[in-house]
Symmetry: C2
Subunit: 552 residues, 2 copies
Amino acid sequence: MTDLAERHRELLAQALDAIDRRTFWAGYAEHPKAYGEEAPAVGQERFEALLGTDFDTGQATSGYMEVAERSPYGLELGIRYPSVSVDDAVVAASDAMAAWGRLSPSDRASVCLEILDRLAKDPFTMANAVMHTTGQAFLMAFQAGGPHALDRALEAVAYTYREETRIPEPLRWVKPQGSRDPLVLDKRWIVRPRGVAVAIGVSTFPTWNGYPGIFASLAAGNPVIVKPHPETILPFALLVRTARDVLSEFGYDPNVVQLVVDTPSAMVTKDLVMRPEVGIVDYTGGSAFGTWLEENVHHAAVYTEKAGVNSVILDSAADLKGVFRNLSVSMTMYSGQMCTTPQNLFVPAGGVKVGDAMVPYEEVVARFVGAVDGLLGDDARASGILGAVKSETSLARIGAAAETGRVLSESREVGNADFPDAIVRTPVIVEVDTSSPAYATEMFGPVIFVVKAESTDDAIASAKAVAKEHGAITWLAYSTDESVVDAITDAALEAGVSVAFNLTGGWFVNQSAAYSDFHVTGANPAGNASLTDPAFVAGRFRVVGVRSEPAA
Amino acid sequence: MTDLAERHRELLAQALDAIDRRTFWAGYAEHPKAYGEEAPAVGQERFEALLGTDFDTGQATSGYMEVAERSPYGLELGIRYPSVSVDDAVVAASDAMAAWGRLSPSDRASVCLEILDRLAKDPFTMANAVMHTTGQAFLMAFQAGGPHALDRALEAVAYTYREETRIPEPLRWVKPQGSRDPLVLDKRWIVRPRGVAVAIGVSTFPTWNGYPGIFASLAAGNPVIVKPHPETILPFALLVRTARDVLSEFGYDPNVVQLVVDTPSAMVTKDLVMRPEVGIVDYTGGSAFGTWLEENVHHAAVYTEKAGVNSVILDSAADLKGVFRNLSVSMTMYSGQMCTTPQNLFVPAGGVKVGDAMVPYEEVVARFVGAVDGLLGDDARASGILGAVKSETSLARIGAAAETGRVLSESREVGNADFPDAIVRTPVIVEVDTSSPAYATEMFGPVIFVVKAESTDDAIASAKAVAKEHGAITWLAYSTDESVVDAITDAALEAGVSVAFNLTGGWFVNQSAAYSDFHVTGANPAGNASLTDPAFVAGRFRVVGVRSEPAA
């Protein structure tokens, strides 16, 4: 065992235990205070020092390029990134694979864990980078972009390592032949990488969604070309620089991890993934391009997380206050720009049973709208919850959604005291009924539909139909009736959607805990993969058998 | 645990142990004598009783159809099979999935093992069915078509069961919150099937190649529609009938397993696999259709085993006699109709080092040809090794191959005393050099190329280039030089081919042992999957998470 493997042995062992048990565990502290008093300011300074500069990843480059990266907080980023051609990157990755692919699983895992450790030691630089590229509020950017993403990465390394090391050590195989001499073969199995991996980043949660595929590919021996979203580059640039530093420091080819950046007017992703050297593609983003990948990339394993239409079904509850306290946060957090955000709140027209009483539909809806409006009434608090809106398209959906039904609450502009140019909007809340096509497509951004259902059964059937047709990642349901819980679980199984029940406290359906919650089922159009399960990692390497007749 | 689960508990436990250890183990006896004195005659009678009849699988059918099934031994089969439309089969499978998909992994595995047990108790009916549809000699048909195929099936069930049961039982997840109350969620995970599975059979080894996918799909909760090769139907009809009998007997919907038969003039496979209900496709067969599946079926997981060009590299040996004793069998067994048969024998022009002496190229080649001719000189012995040639296309390759180089040994017709109409040919042996395109494509059937290489390095480079371009499943190499062994292992890793060294005894490179040898690496164009590894089973089911806040 190398020193590096020894250094990370205990953490890897704990992660391996965690993925088997799936009870709570975390490898990286999620509380900003855990990092010391100086850390926030240091990270802030490091981030600011990057603005307006050439970001050097150490890659061979023909120069630094202007990009379309922009901050929803209105901060001028102005960072230029190395210009690296698809051809150069693929050739360098292929060259790097030869040695990286032949390291032991333990050596590769330990390099991965060293990279994670370096990132964990500087979470505030990353937090600022994530905040100012994605529009997340600071605390979310810190946690989801930092320690939670690192935990998702460690989880992926653990899964991959576990899978690789299930193959036995060299052995002698002896097949009895009755009274004759047995057949004897010496056998060993060698893990080999699948090919060059391409990780295509998303604009909203680049690290949290991207790390699992990147680190699973690395741990399995594949070099990774990271292709960030053209408008959210810096978080991945930090990752790539850190990874390359670690690789170089320990004597490995830094081209095991490379950054290839593009712009909306000259996109390179299709060229990149169609290269025959590519063996793996990981993608998080919109459905159109994800489906293009699934349909056109036949020479590589393609893992997608695309869009989904997530639903809440409100059947009955012990107490509506807790319901709306939880829902008002989960439906507005980061302005609906999470792939796990519930978009549709189904409410039966006959009302909702609360304890022994029936609360009429209109009252339920009014209380929900009141809870959202109350939560977001104060600009400072609203900013902390909503963050900022990343894309023009998301912003445009507010108006489009308002056309589709009765507006229960208008979207309003929210002022952000720290960043006056930040684009912050409260969600528009629109009422439609289950026959409306409006709620059946993903309205990523600050849009909430209250869907008036004929009954709980109608709500379940509608949520299921939408999930099967357009995908869904999460369902949340409230019911005190066991038979309704069973019916919703049944529908969730058929639609391939994970489901949560009766969340009223401090856990939100949007949240997916590493080592415990599988993210995406892969069983509906929201994606073909789960981050992280054995199916997500098992195809990232191949096994070559070597059999030898022992010398006489 | 049900009675059925209890009945098969011990065998499943042994298989689970075997896939972890990969040392020798077998679940089913491979020696015909193990089945008692009466068994061969009983199986023969049962087989003969099927000839010329309507084969009833118990499926709803509009009638029985004539098919193109034919015996390479010249026996008139004349069996008619139920006519089942794609639409009816898919609807029935979807209906059957609801209940089958919700059984426990243990219950499904035990039903699978009961099916295997029934098949294991009547191996001679299957042996005759396999022999007379594929052209395999009796002993191969018995072993590869019976117990070895059953072991491959049990292996797939064990892998699937292991994968499903790695997910923990329901648990309480508790996340500490410092001085505040912890976050508490009750979590459980439910395995759900991927969708209707379609298993597309091959004409030569329907059961051995087909069982792994079929039983992995079944164990994972997917109903299976078995679509045999239009000319090799009976083995799968026997499987389907047995499976349906077991399912009915234990109260399950027999449509969990269905047979859909077609004819060359009205093929249904494309219609079948393009149905949106289909979630899994397993395929063994030619590259053209396998590639079509990989490129066109985006809505389902596609597992292929296609063609490959397998090579032997002869560098040096302790003794040529053992080399050719082994090679003459492996290169002629079942007339080269195994996906693992070595097609190309690379011999360096400078000769082969044997002990301390250099045996000149021409002498090496002459001794190889002599060994093959000697082995196949006697018609009775030749028939036992060669079996019969299944397809007209394979037969036609003899003449085509002879045109491409110097014929070292002509193909000759071999008489089969038991079956005068059997189509039996010794292989044509053709000499080409490494610049020839002839040896670079798969010549499935009785064709052997001796490829004259400039050197061992040229041989390695040529074998590697062919494997990377056209695929390969096996390599066999002879060398007493460790550096050559390393170079060949290195090339095998890069080409993604499993490799055997210095086989001179009773084990042939064509053979792939269940529980120990991975079949196909999935790392070159010979196929995208390995039968059976975790990647082959992990995607056949999906996991839906259910999280609930505990009631106050």
